[in-house]
Symmetry: C2
Subunit: 353 residues, 2 copies
């Protein structure tokens, strides 16, 4: 072994869903939005000038932060932006989770929480979801060094109410509670209203799902100014300019087209409700989804086998070979046409069992 | 104080040069390239499709890494890309500098090294440059947990030779040595040739300066595959997708226009040599520059006063209120027209003393 290797950081990286480089795949595996972003987004990107390319972008990201503050009716000093919500969450872990006490998050949840904790040497304790895959709020009353959970949760798609969230936040004044609302736009009630009341609540969001901008890597957090200032300080101690000019322009443009946004959210909700019915007809069931994906299990056929059979037919969904959820599939809600392909393929596969 | 604040990470952020939001400023303070990027860059950005926007980018950044590997005649597994060389350096600090022994870097150097070390709780020891502002290689023979220095150094613009670099690298087989070649394209001899010989040498570069793409945030590192794999693992434990689609496309397009690149480097070199002469006539002197900036002191007038007077005339240069260099100005090489404005302003200012 090379001598320098003994000082290399120990990591167990997150493995994202596969990104095939061919376009013949029906891709329902990474919860991307099946519709394009608002037309103004591409225009804004194409309009980025040579002058903006050669110069450093605004390190304070004022254009995008102003647009977000206006959209969510908060102050500019209550908004943090980053390279996707992964960057925002990673910075939040670095900023707030520096206690000796364990950080708490659900056992079935976004797998990156554990990866960040490992990488940053943050102690943590996973709290088991109940048998219906709901969080148990009592699990988050114990002493801790911070709390993080997605709402709706992933990969279960289950939403908890703002009063549920408030209960956890109010019982933990000495910890920062991060509520990861990556999927909230697909019909969940946000906990944003609690921000003004609790100085220890940080809500994170992303443009990757509801705003069809996974390719641009834009995420943000909203919280009281002291939380945001602490995160800005960590960001400015890592990279003064995390957001490139095209991301700043694209994000701002997206926020300006509310009609497009609402219309496409509604389409996805409709397709989701249709999918629930159609999948039930095929023998699938799962929790009520408040996200742009479904978490389903089949009455007869093992999830892994369905996953592999779909893959052979160039339909990608997500399968997690993990305790408790290894008989489930996470299926992104695509266009009606993509979903028809899925139903047809599933019908064929299930017939062979 | 809020209770959660006691667990907030302690930071002392880097302060970048001012980015005025008005265009009436002659901006010679952040070493941006005064010329636009190659015309193919804007075309590539404008050509990014809605499909690419709504999908996650390739987490492996193959398009850009392939182009870099080809350009530098190395293997693809010898290249790491990030959100500017700050992201690349930050990841390298996280990946390699995990020893109890101090990391070594020059006392007068890129100020971010100390910021990263503080933020990541890495012990460090600054090594004083000699009285001519050169690194003393003997300072880097002692036991250490890693070494990092820019070549050419900033803000001095002084270049050390590959044999100087090799001496340090070869004497430190148990440490990773990072050579930050952000400014090497402006006429310095790179140490890239040493990569094949030393498994502990990592060279970092940026598209921000020589390729006129500060606004797109693209940096990279080249080293042996084991070094690159360790960095990839840390990156994938922080954010699977740091590079957005426009950055991947812009970077790749930039590498394809070698004529544009060479032509504009030559223009900057010519302007730099002219600037040395013109500034000498005005009473300025400083070390020989191998970068796109000059580090100069005036025979009579204190640097801070010149800095402030220039600022009043809307000409921004960089001034560091730090021991040993507080009588120097760092002046970015702009277009000939921008430099004429500088000379004229300086003439006026110096006459009043």
């Amino acid at each position: 072994m090379n001598e320098w290797m003994k000082n290399v950081r120990k990591t167990e990286p997150y493995v994202p869903g596969e990104q095939p480089q061919v376009t013949t795949v029906t891709k329902l595996n990474t919860n991307e939005n099946p519709y394009p972003p608002a037309p103004g987004v591409r225009e804004a990107i194409a309009a980025v000038s040579d002058e903006s390319l050669r110069r450093y972008p605004d390190p304070d990201c004022r254009e995008l932060i102003r647009a977000l503050a206006e959209y969510y009716q908060v102050e500019e000093n209550q908004v943090f932006v980053g390279v996707g919500s992964d960057d925002v969450l990673g910075m939040a872990f670095m900023t707030f989770f520096n206690s000796e006490k364990p950080v708490l998050f659900p056992d079935i949840s976004y797998a990156f929480y554990e990866v960040w904790a490992d990488m940053l040497q943050i102690p943590f304790q996973k709290q088991p979801l109940d048998e219906t895959f709901h969080l148990r709020k009592e699990d988050y009353y114990k002493e801790n060094g911070g709390i993080v959970f997605p709402n709706p949760n992933a990969p279960t798609a289950i939403l908890e109410s703002p009063s549920f969230v408030e209960d956890i936040v109010s019982r933990n004044p000495a910890s920062v509670v991060i509520v990861d609302e990556a999927y909230i736009d697909f019909g969940g009630e946000s906990s944003l209203g609690l921000i003004s009341k609790y100085d220890n609540l940080l809500i994170t969001r992303t443009f990757s799902k509801s705003r069809s901008l996974a390719g641009m890597r834009i995420g943000f957090a909203i919280g009281q100014p002291a939380l945001i200032a602490a995160m800005q300080s960590v960001r400015n101690s890592y990279n003064s300019y995390t957001m490139n000019q095209t991301a700043l322009s694209a994000g701002t443009a997206s926020l300006k087209d509310e009609d497009w946004f609402r219309d496409h959210i509604a389409r996805i909700q409709n397709t989701r409700e249709e999918a629930v019915r159609r999948l039930a007809e095929l023998g699938f069931s799962g929790p009520v989804s408040s996200a742009n994906f479904l978490f389903v299990t089949h009455e007869r056929v093992p999830a892994r086998e369905i996953f592999e059979a779909l893959r052979r037919e160039h339909i990608y969904v997500r399968y997690f070979s993990k305790p408790r959820i290894d008989n489930f599939l996470r299926i992104t809600v695509g266009t009606p046409e993509e979903m028809e392909r899925l139903y047809t393929a599933l019908k064929g596969i299930l017939q062979t069992y």
